[in-house]
Amino acid sequence: MSAVFEQIFQVGFLAAIIRIATPLAFATLGEMFSERAGVLNLGIEGIMLLCAMTGFTATSLSGSLWLGVLAAVLTGMLMGALHALFTVALGLSQHVCGIGVTLFSSGLAYFLYRLIFGQQSVPPSIKGFQTLPIPVLSDIPVLGPAVFNQFALVYIAIIAIPLAAFVLYRTPWGLSVRMVGENPRAADSAGVSVIATRFQAVILGGALMGLAGAFLSMAQFNAFTFGVVSGRGWVAIALVVFGRWDPWRSAGAALLFAFVDALQLRMQASGLGHIPYEAFLMLPFIFTIVAMAVMSRNAVAPSALLKPFRREER
């Protein structure tokens, strides 16, 4: 066991945690904005997959990584708008629509990928994001190489966390989002358009989910495979609950999950006894369920979450 503990404090391990946390942080922040406005987005798993596909494809065809990121973000916004159309404009069940969006977008992702690239024995890959050391900061011992010698998208994620907190708590728009998520009727009387604000929040959430998808296919794996998202979207939904719908806590939850995930990867690699590696793969999911049970006692969801708003109805 002591060998495991030694590894925890290695640079490589810290860097791995940050890399695992990055797509989760994007996805969790995206889901959080949506839920803060009162809309649960279960489409996240499929949206991330579709964005991973469009980002990869755009880069593969154009040769530009940032064009790929742009494509992924636009795809995310489009799918967010689709989910908002069903749940906000039409007021349909958020649970079922989200599953519908996930089924639709994952089907579409595989369909279009196969259409564009055909069936190949070796899946096509791209030269993805390379690490970008930040001068001076990356020379700090341990922390420097782990945090400041990363992909550009990691830095964007690190900036996105305080930015999300600022937007949510310090801007008029953030106030509107929180109002329509807590008390849409009061927001409506105060002159805030519930429908428009919810649309904007879900679309912003989709953009962040797009960044999450782009990170997976363009920085982490540099290819689009069937397992590229593999439940990370569902985990993000749990992390929002675990992070109590707050940007800082949500990002913290993503880091904690990434720690557990990186730990299970290390334990797998160190070949602990003869425990099958799938037992370790289960670990983060079990951890999340247990953590939710512990946290849910005092977790307070936005009051209007899951409740559609129609002005003319009482």
Binding site: L42, G107, L115, V241, P276, E278, I289
Partner: protein, 351 residues
């Protein structure tokens, strides 16, 4: 401008026409993708239809695929009726498959083996479904999230089994040992794969309909789903109803796994379910949570799945079109459902 207006009553023909409308809209929407793939739309749908319902063999193949979706569709319909948001039918199916494979590998008389397989599979599915229900009742954990996450847990547990103790030591493939030949479900029509489990699925639908529509438990499930406050006021123990619903729902999803092991694969592998648990949600919604409607809805999706493969071979349109059709059908049905409660009224500018 248009706006939605609450309907005072819904015409009866409307309820029947809605799923058909949704399906028609889906096929029209997805024809764009077929055209994008450079194939003829009518030709492609024609191949799909011929390969899934065109002759008697195709029909039996479609029914074999429909059976697990009838079970998962019933599982979801029952759960959603009580507003127990069971998104975990996939994991419950896998648990049922594993448990029935354990039992089926034990040598014993065939009928006894099949019965015990069903019992074990149903019990395993029910046990899995009990977890999110208990977490919701005891700890107020959102059942959507916990049942979803459990799917991954069960999947990895299955993988651990077939990569570990169950691994085929001869071939090295991650596949469980096969069940006993005597435990294989009997084939009903020689030369097809139509097995006993398909009939059980077809019988289960009216039984579950009876349970929901005509029994006390069914009444409690419906009232709990429609208005938990009123249910509580009326002396219904809402928590207990949720737990019973979870047991019933999980058992049904578990039976979907039993049928796949006993009637189709005779062993467990990693891709034993191509997402039948999630398809169950589509089936249940197309059926408007009515157990009787689950049968045609499952047959429709099964036909799409069987047909898509043939279409892909014949026209080169990727078979993933069937996944897109599923997702689109679910969304189209949801929009269609809107019109049972509302109608569109034109609000003239000259009002």
């Amino acid at each position: 401008m248009f706006r939605l207006e609450v309907r005072t009553s819904t015409p009866a023909w409307f309820n029947l026409a809605l799923p058909l409308l949704a399906i028609a809209a889906t096929l029209v929407l997805c024809s764009g993708l077929i055209a994008l793939a450079g194939a003829g739309v009518l030709e492609s749908y024609g191949v799909m239809f011929a390969a899934s319902l065109g002759d008697s063999y195709a029909i039996t193949e479609t029914l074999v695929r429909a059976a697990p979706m009838i079970f998962t569709g019933l599982a979801v319909a029952v759960a959603f009726r009580a507003k127990f948001w069971n998104i975990g039918a996939e994991g419950q199916l896998l648990a049922g498959a594993v448990a029935s494979c354990f039992v089926g590998a034990i040598p014993m008389p065939g009928p006894l083996a099949m019965l015990l397989m069903a019992v074990a599979g149903a019990a395993a599915g029910a046990a899995v479904a009990l977890v999110p229900a208990t977490l919701r009742v005891k700890f107020k954990v959102d059942d959507v999230v916990s049942s979803l996450l459990l799917n991954s847990v069960i999947y990895y547990a299955l993988m651990a089994l077939i990569e570990g103790p169950w691994k085929d030591s001869f071939s090295g493939y991650p596949i469980s040992p096969p069940i006993e030949d005597s435990a294989n479900f009997p084939v009903l029509i020689e030369g097809t794969r139509l097995h006993l489990g398909v009939i059980v699925a077809l019988i289960a639908a009216p039984l579950i309909w009876f349970l929901i529509a005509r029994t006390t438990l069914g009444f409690r499930i419906r009232v709990t789903g429609e208005n938990p406050e009123a249910a509580r006021y009326g002396g219904i123990h809402v928590e207990r109803v949720l737990l019973s619903t979870a047991l019933l729902s999980g058992a049904l999803a578990g039976l979907a796994g039993v049928g796949e092991v006993g009637g189709v694969h005779f062993q467990v592998m990693s891709d034993i379910s191509p997402g039948y648990g999630y398809s169950g949600i589509v089936v249940a919604m197309l059926a408007r949570l009515n157990p009787l409607g689950v049968v045609p809805a499952a047959i429709f999706l099964a036909a799409v799945m069987t047909g898509a493969e043939a279409m892909s071979r014949a026209t080169g349109v990727p078979a993933f079109l069937s996944d897109v059709i599923q997702g689109t059908a679910l969304l189209a049905m949801l929009v269609a459902l809107l019109f049972t409660a509302y109608r569109i009224r034109r609000v003239g500018a000259a009002r």
